[in-house]
């Protein structure tokens, strides 16, 4: 697994419903090769975490901690 920038992603809980990808206001999340990938530019709005029905996404704070 690649190192994460801001968004922690739980591969086992995730069902790939793509809600996080679609709610992201700056579109930094994408599904590639069945994995949620993160690009640069997260504004840490927590929308993906709040909308994830599977508790599969967690956004780290500025210090890079949970």
């Amino acid at each position: 697994m690649k190192p994460r920038l801001n968004v922690l992603w739980n591969e086992i809980y995730c069902k790939r419903c793509l809600l996080c990808v679609e709610v992201c206001p700056v579109q930094v999340l994408t599904l590639e090769r069945n994995e949620i990938e993160e690009k640069e530019g997260c504004i840490r709005c927590y929308q993906c975490e709040r909308y994830c029905p599977d508790i599969a996404i967690e956004v780290m704070d500025e210090k890079g901690e949970k």
Binding site: I12, K15, C17, E22, Y46, I55, E58
Partner: protein, 344 residues
Amino acid sequence: MDRSYKELLKLRRFPHTWCPGCGIGAVLKNVAMVMKELGWNYKNTVAVSGIGCSGRMSGYMNLDALHTPHGRPLTAAEAIKTVRSDLNVMVLSGDGDLASIGGNHLLHTSRRNPDITVFCNDNEIYGLTGGQAGPTTPQGTKTLTSPRGEHHSPLRLGRILTQQAPYFYARTTVYHLNHFKTCIREALLWKGFSFVDIISDCIELNGRRLGFKTAHQMFKWFDERFHIVEGERDQLQEDELGIAKAVVKEVPRPAEKEEVKPEIPMEGLKPFTLEELERFDGQEGRPIYMAYQGKVYDLSASPLFQGEKRMRCHLGGKDLTKDLDIAPHGEDLIFKFPLVGKME
């Protein structure tokens, strides 16, 4: 971000059983969040579920949870609350379970107003069985059991549950998250029967047939269909999200009426002996007299003492004090008749 709500969920059973994008996961998560904020845990809370996709919710909570037969979570919750008033009882179920097979229980449990909170995952479809029309499916929707569009108009839970005070009915969606959490919190804190109608998405078995490709597209559809209304409301229109509530104003009980028995002076009344009384038995044109508690009444006018049809006990010229104790009527019937004397 506070993630301590996770201790209320049985994470060892995750990922949960629902389809990708299903709204039930959001209901579970947000209810757990508000519960955590309120300090509710397994020692003071019980969750009750029915059957269906949403019925699995209670099983993912770190609580003593009940998974009842189809349609019965409300009755079960009420019974638990009755026996254990110290417990917080909440029902996590769906629209088919609560409004269709459990419709009768919904009417009567809300009428009896126990202090329970109901979260209804209202996805307008029977999801677990593959997508049949449910009680809240909008008219015209194509489903497996309404292949040319649902014929009947849906059950309007908002109207049914706001018929008579006290009531608490909130409508929200899994998309309007802040509003959703406010509704959960208010409902959990409401004393009495509170019902949260959560418009939720069933993307796999309803949304795709409706033409949506992802759960997010359904969320946008909810945003088009509904708008949030603020403030205190008595009723909600069908396109409104908000909270409708009403309490009963305590009406002071009317003071119980004291029975006033007629006080009749005993002086100056004609005295009768029992032998004399017996002569007045209604035969041969004589009047009918009867004694009651030392007083003699003229019962000639009573229809029960006339002719062949007179009833068993209604014979003239007797002391009726004892008979009246076992009579199906009260003594007030006697006071209507004229007083003619007293017993020796």
